[in-house]
């Protein structure tokens, strides 16, 4: 399959707008040119016509003795007619169909004019082209009326020069309109297509588990797309939650028979004195414990995934929550003679988040700290606010540090442990499923927080779980 370049809406839009403005500019040019031509021709025709009429009116009938006519051509009229663009002037006077004066070869109009209303026509004459006004009237000659035809022609070189100048100006106007339109179409294409970019950004900015429907303001034209996308998100969420529910139910269903199995194995252990059988039973109990633990972690994991998708945030006082969790963990820690040393601030440190997610994360961290510490050691639990990183950019954070004096990370890269079912090489005989830190990392991501595991100075491990403080 050949890779086709994707079609660009912007390019198409710009090309179409440019084509449209080119057509418009051409139309403007033509309109200016034609109307200017017509206007100047009408003006000049009016002057020419008036001159021809006044010429005809100045003609007087001949004397009684012969059929002649008195012509008094006015130099002023000729001067004025010729003034604009230094035109050339030709005339012809016909009386009774006979040329009495002027240029006998000046062509007659195709149709004779009406009385005293000049008729205009353009005609080639000698080496040039003339605009001619023809006027007709009657004269009394030798006692009877005779038709008089006066033709007055002028070249229109000046008008042509003016029309050319106007055409140039019109072309300039067209060009200006076109360039303005070009700039405008680029801007328009940009602003028209911006909502698409905004939408894409809104979708792209979402966290991997954010399956809420899109609620951004999108233009009406994009709403079918948004609706379709939301429908798709809804279906995806449905499928995911089905899977998660299934895992949670499956884990739950496995836990019950496992606990029955454990009880039975314990009873059997108590009742048997055959050493090999007892050892086998002890191994069975251990495997059952590990299975139960895995089922619990799977359940937790599914819960975290589900709640992360739900994004049900509420206001939470972080201090009391941490204090309660620590208290709940004391008995387990005490079983291994481990002391929990919480150090909490006086204020409650309110944040927005999901208590279930936070509890799951902290429970796992405390569990790891206790699990991977030797007996008779202490674990520090510190809650503190953290100024925005980089001096101002970003939000201030509430940070919970859980630091133990355990076996440490054995030089392994901490981010590897957040992968599902991945356990470190340092675990030894400590039971576990490898889901704990996955849960923590997902909880942190769902609330816009941060999780980090690092070696502690002086031995041990320090886990950091931070959540953004509001405003």
């Amino acid at each position: 399959m050949t890779r086709r370049r994707p079609t660009s809406l912007r390019r198409r839009l710009v090309i179409q707008l440019l084509a449209l403005s080119a057509v418009l500019s051409a139309l403007i040019f033509l309109a200016v040119r034609i109307s200017a031509d017509r206007a100047s021709e009408e003006t000049l025709d009016a002057v020419l016509g008036a001159a021809a009429v006044s010429l005809a009116e100045a003609m007087r009938g001949g004397d009684r003795d012969g059929g002649s006519v008195t012509v008094d051509l006015s130099p002023v009229t000729f001067s004025m007619l010729a003034a604009m663009g230094e035109e050339r002037i030709f005339y012809r006077v016909d009386l009774d169909g006979r040329t009495v004066t002027g240029y006998g070869d000046l062509p007659l109009p195709a149709e004779l004019p009406d009385a005293l209303a000049p008729r205009f026509y353009t005609v080639g004459f000698r080496d040039t082209e003339l605009r001619v006004a023809a006027v007709r009237r009657s004269l009394m000659v030798a006692g009877r009326p005779a038709p008089l035809l006066v033709l007055l022609g002028q070249t229109r070189d000046g008008q042509e020069a003016i029309a050319e100048g106007l055409a140039n100006r019109a072309a300039l106007v067209g060009l200006v309109v076109f360039s303005a339109a070009a700039i405008f179409s680029l801007l328009a294409a940009g602003s028209l297509l911006r909502p698409i970019g905004t939408l894409a950004e809104a979708v792209g900015r979402r966290g991997p588990r954010d399956l809420r429907p899109l609620r951004d303001q999108a233009p009406a034209e994009l709403s079918p797309f948004v609706t379709a996308l939301n429908g798709f998100i809804a279906r995806l969420r449905g499928t995911l939650s089905q899977t998660e529910t299934f895992i949670a139910e499956a884990a739950h269903h496995i836990r019950t028979p496992l606990s029955v199995m454990r009880n039975e194995a314990e009873l059997a252990l108590r009742e048997t004195s055959d050493e090999p059988a007892r050892a086998r039973l002890r191994r069975l109990i251990r495997a059952v414990d590990e299975g139960a633990r895995s089922a619990g972690q799977l359940l937790d994991h599914a819960t975290v995934l589900y709640r992360a998708g739900q994004q049900e945030m509420a206001e939470i006082a972080l201090g009391p929550l941490v204090a309660a969790l620590v208290e709940r963990s004391r008995p387990i820690a005490a079983m291994r003679d481990i002391t929990l040393l919480p150090s909490l601030p006086a204020e409650p440190l309110r944040i927005r988040g999901d208590a279930v997610l936070i509890e799951a994360a902290l429970r796992n961290l405390l569990d790891n700290a206790v699990k991977y510490s030797p007996p008779d050691s202490a674990i520090d639990i510190v809650l503190a606010t953290l100024a925005p990183a980089g001096g101002g950019a970003g939000a201030a954070m509430a940070e919970i540090r859980i630091a133990d004096r355990g076996r440490g990370l054995d030089g392994a890269a901490p981010q590897a442990f957040t992968i599902r079912f991945r356990r470190g090489s340092n675990v030894g005989d400590v039971p576990g499923s490898g889901l704990g830190l996955t849960i923590v990392a997902e909880a942190a991501a769902a609330m816009g927080g941060r999780f980090d595991l690092s070696p502690r100075e002086g031995g041990g491990t320090c886990a950091t779980f931070a959540l953004p403080l509001p405003g």
């Binding site: 012509v71 008094d72 007619l81 010729a82 230094e86 002037i89 002027g102 040039t128």
Partner: protein, 348 residues
Amino acid sequence: MRNIRAALAGLILALAGPVMPARGYEIEASAHFGPPDAARRLAVLSTTDIDFLRPVIEGWLARTPGIGLDYTLASSQEVYRAIAEEGAVFDVVISSAMDLQMKLANDGFARPLPAEMLRTRPDWSRWRNLLVAVAQEPVTMILSDHALDGGLPMPHTRRDLIALLRDHPDRFRGRVGTYDPEVSGAGYLFAAQEARLSDTFWRLAEVMGRLDARLFCCSGDMIAAVRQGDLLIAYNVLGSYAAADGRTAPGFVVVEPEDFTLTLLRTALVPRGAADPTTAEAFVAFLLSPGGQQLISAAAGLPAIDAGAFALKPYLRPIRLDPGLLAPLDRISRQGFLAEWRAAMDQP
């Protein structure tokens, strides 16, 4: 212009026959300049006397060696006929008959001149790119030294002149002269232009008619008559002729009327049928160049084209070089005008 012929008849060496039937138009004289065997010869047809332009022509030939120039002198009417009707081949046409030159240009017999030649010309001294003035000549009146004997006031305007003539009919009867517009093209041009500019023209015509004014064909004859004492006042005389003549034999004063003094433009054009238009344009360009203008005014005695003159003498009016000149040329208009003129002249 037959005045030139009369004044210079003795000087002209190569006098052509009065009528050359094969030619179809009459010439008065011709002269040949430059090397006789020159490969390129420029044919100039003109109404201006050969001796007037001789220094200018020789100045040009000195600058452009290897070119000859054939100069043909004819009356303005014949110059027009040669180009418009007979299809004679000339490279440059120079004439003082502005109206006929305008008609040649208007009717399409002139060839466009290059734009750079005309760019520096004042607007009133050219028409389109076809016709360009090479000299400007005021139309004046001349008074014999004896005209005002007895302390009569010097007339500075037409009104003054009318008053002078009217108050002293006995002195001036039969001793006032002007052009005969029926015979002279220049006379008709001046009369028509004056009539166009002012009504005093007809009043003056009537006064002159009552005094039995004598009518002349040419400026030269009028100047001669004044010098001989036959005339006391000659009206509408080309100032350049008066000045040229006055240098040898004073005996009269030249007065430029201060109400307005018509200024005739001597114009040049290159006909469409010119055999060598490039050289023709070079010649016209020389006539318009500072060097050529200098020669025209200093050696030929024709006033050069000078827009400054109009600022200095505000009453100078160049005759408008535009198609307005065509109206009086109309046959019937001319008949009408001359009929009026005759009526003014023939008074009991």
